[in-house]
């Protein structure tokens, strides 16, 4: 089966790149928030759990 393909314009590529960077920053920020929030909520008890 032939797959219909398109070639993105430079503007589309640039927009996609900025969106990708924004998503990466947002996800990284979310990970940091969840990690630090867990520390803030559970406190030192977080480190007293067995591994």
């Amino acid at each position: 089966m032939d797959i219909e393909t398109v070639k993105p314009t430079p503007q589309q590529l640039k927009a996609r790149r900025t969106r990708s960077i924004a998503i990466a920053w947002a996800l990284a920020a979310f990970v940091v928030i969840v990690y630090v929030a867990s520390l803030a909520r559970m406190g030192p008890a977080l480190f007293e759990r067995g591994f």
Partner: protein, 314 residues
Amino acid sequence: MAFLDKPLADDGVVGLSEATPSDYFALLKPRVMSLVVFTAFVGLVAAPGTINPFTALISILSIAIGAGASGALNMWYDADIDRLMQRTAMRPIPAGRIRPGEALAFGLVLSVLSVMTLGVFVDWLAASLLAFTIFFYAVIYTMWLKRWTPQNIVIGGAAGAIPPVIGWVSATGSVGMESVLLFLIIFLWTPPHFWALALFKAGEYGRVGIPMMPNVAGPASTRRQIFAYSVVVAVTGVLPTAFGYAGLGYGAVALALGAGFVWYAWQVLRMDDADPAMRPAKALFAYSLLYLFAIFAAYLADSVVARALAVGGA
């Protein structure tokens, strides 16, 4: 190289998205969000007790994202009328930079994320209030009231008034009477604020069939209602001092700000409907924004000073 399983544009021309992060940020209605963040912050800081600073930060961030999500859902639903109004025609969806489905998904994902984050890390009562706010704004106001009744922004104003209560609940775990007064100030402030805008944008609202008060009851009735609400909001602004929740400093500032509000509303009441510039209505609209920011700033300063004095005297 990219491939697509179906054409993206109605005219059959295949097109990839050119939306930038700033377009998605615009979906969050950042100017509305800034007011939401500030009022929620005041509610959180003025509340008695202590809260971990990072937990407070998560609370404010969740409220901001939740407010933004409801803005995105509002823009998704209102795209049909936004494209016909000059004030909103350049928003990302009517301008063609973001497709409606993308805005809907964006709004729904952020709604769930903000509510869950607030619930898991801060307080589930606060999270449920945030969820209610998003639902009230996106469904009750946007989908129902806005196109149905001239009381749309009166009832819908509740959504914009809840953030200080959410901030308060985040810090204390319960709804305090003080936070209810903060709610009332925003709730009663909303009609004169939006009706001032509706007076000089009546033509645009009329063209798209939104039953704003000037289009339904007429400019004269709207001006009288603006004045009546302005008097009530000026009185309500002083209530925190009258009830003993705030000091005389706040009371004096609130009284002066309220007097200004009533004076601007009086100018609107006396405004000639034949005046095409409608400067008094524009002046009231601008002043109302200053009023809300200033009265909440005064409440914040009053509560911080009171707490500092209590610590100093202990």
